[in-house]
Symmetry: C2
Subunit: 295 residues, 2 copies
């Protein structure tokens, strides 16, 4: 098994290689003056023919560029004679466009996944995809791993006082439940309610009383941070002692970080599937464990 790092591997490739004691190689990469990407396997360093090749490439922004690089890397691995090509995509872009919210829309995640398969992937691995069901479009073996245990382990060490875990909405309760189990705490999900008199929208725990608690909001992804910021403000207004934001994929678009801090959130904790100032937990362990199992 050879671990191949694409231009958006964010060093996860090197960590995995170390953990499973496999050789690794970093793809040569350049950008032509017109903006076209170029990748090359440094074949003088390592011969991938006949090998199981694990291509690590995350799809954080600029996601279309990283997507094309991934296709180039997968296809070229096949061309160069790899026996099996495993696509490891820690953050899968376009995962939230997973159905036709309106008639006529592209189901973007299907298109991205099918292109990855067509380019030469024999197996697909990602982490905390928005909806696990999206992977069913693939006809190759696939796995959605979770970083929630790694995040929970980190939270455990922090020894927060009276922690409670909240999901930002009912659909995302799974992650909150998983983290709560490890921390041995209660969990709930957030509902948005509009005040009949003032028209103001509040975001509060469905049934839990958060007074005196350290509220830990857990989600798969933080994009603009809007819901998180609102939930934080409301929790603090209800007497929470502190609010912590936890996610796998810290996209943090525009001024999300400022927005979250201004809402009173005291800590933001994320993994390195997307590089960001708060991406302090590595997903390499989770991936290495899985690769070791299928080796």
């Amino acid at each position: 098994m050879i671990i191949v790092g694409g231009p958006a591997a964010n060093n996860i490739d090197l960590e995995i290689a170390k953990l499973i004691n496999a050789p690794s190689v970093t793809l040569e990469y350049k950008k032509f003056p017109d903006g076209e990407s170029y990748i090359r396997y440094p074949v003088e360093e390592v011969d991938i023919s006949g090998e199981t090749v694990v291509v690590v490439q995350s799809l954080y922004p600029p996601q279309d560029k990283h997507f094309l690089e991934l296709l180039l890397a997968l296809s070229t691995a096949k061309d160069l004679g790899a026996k099996e090509v495993i696509a490891v995509v820690p953050y899968l872009a376009y995962a939230r466009q997973d159905k036709r919210f309106r008639r006529g829309e592209a189901i973007s995640v299907n298109v991205v996944l099918k292109a990855i398969e067509s380019a030469g992937a024999d197996r697909f691995i990602t982490i905390d995809i928005h909806k696990e069901k999206s992977l069913e479009v693939l006809s190759i073996p696939h796995e959605n791993l979770t970083a929630m245990r790694e995040l929970a382990k980190y939270l455990l060490k922090r020894n927060y006082k009276n922690p409670v875990i909240l999901a930002p909405d009912k659909g995302a309760i799974g992650h909150a439940k998983e983290v709560a189990k490890i921390l041995g705490t209660e969990y709930d999900y957030i509902v948005k309610v509009r005040d009949r008199k003032t028209g103001e929208v509040r975001a509060e725990a469905k049934s839990l009383d958060v007074e005196g608690s350290t509220v830990i909001i857990v989600d798969d992804i933080i994009s603009t941070g809007g819901t998180m910021a609102l939930a934080a403000k409301c929790s603090l207004a209800l007497g929470a002692r502190a609010v912590i934001a936890v996610c796998t994929h810290a996209l943090l678009v525009n001024n999300a970080l400022t927005r979250l801090k201004e809402s009173g959130i005291s800590e933001i904790i994320a993994t390195n599937t997307v590089p960001s100032p708060v991406s302090r937990i590595s997903v390499a362990n989770v991936l290495a464990e899985y690769l070791r199992r299928i080796l």
Copy 2:
């Protein structure tokens, strides 16, 4: 037949629709805050089910974004029940990475073409692809049309004095020959020679004497414009009365336009496969003619 304009159709879709008197529809497009593209067929305007759908999307920069939008558009046309999906890609990005110049390299054009086919294209049409042979990777019907006749017709009207046509290198002689035939002029290709004494590199016509001629340099693409600029300088030094640069795809990266003008080129003429200040000839005629034939 319904003509569908993608976000990078550069209005060629509307012109084609008018020329062949077919209904047309423009895809709804937006960009999410994190940079993800979104496309939608306005199904309330036109029902594409059971129809031959022609998706027009060029792949000029940002090429990776336009590429993903193309895949979304093709795949969604299929989803929505189109009988046949024709991909019309006036400028095909990545066409110059058409072989392994060094071992281990991605053959990017193959990956791009195969992804277009896999996304749902039943037929592929492009214009003046860098190497026609690249299309052989497709298993769907495909066509490489040329804009050279349109460009030549425009040149004819300009009535240049003593025109001669030059290709920027031996491999690109085909386009020069085609234009020369229509203009009824001589043609040649440019060779680069290094002066043994000074080390200076000159770019000159292989055998033609350009003194007193209007030199028209014809290429499929102008990217940085380096070769064109050098050839223009040398032609003028050898007594050419003027130098005109002609191409299908005016990428004009960085300061190519300034560079070309500073080299003494008096006119730059290109088609609208790539939007630019010199893209004055439309390829809609060429495409419409072809579509009419296969209708």
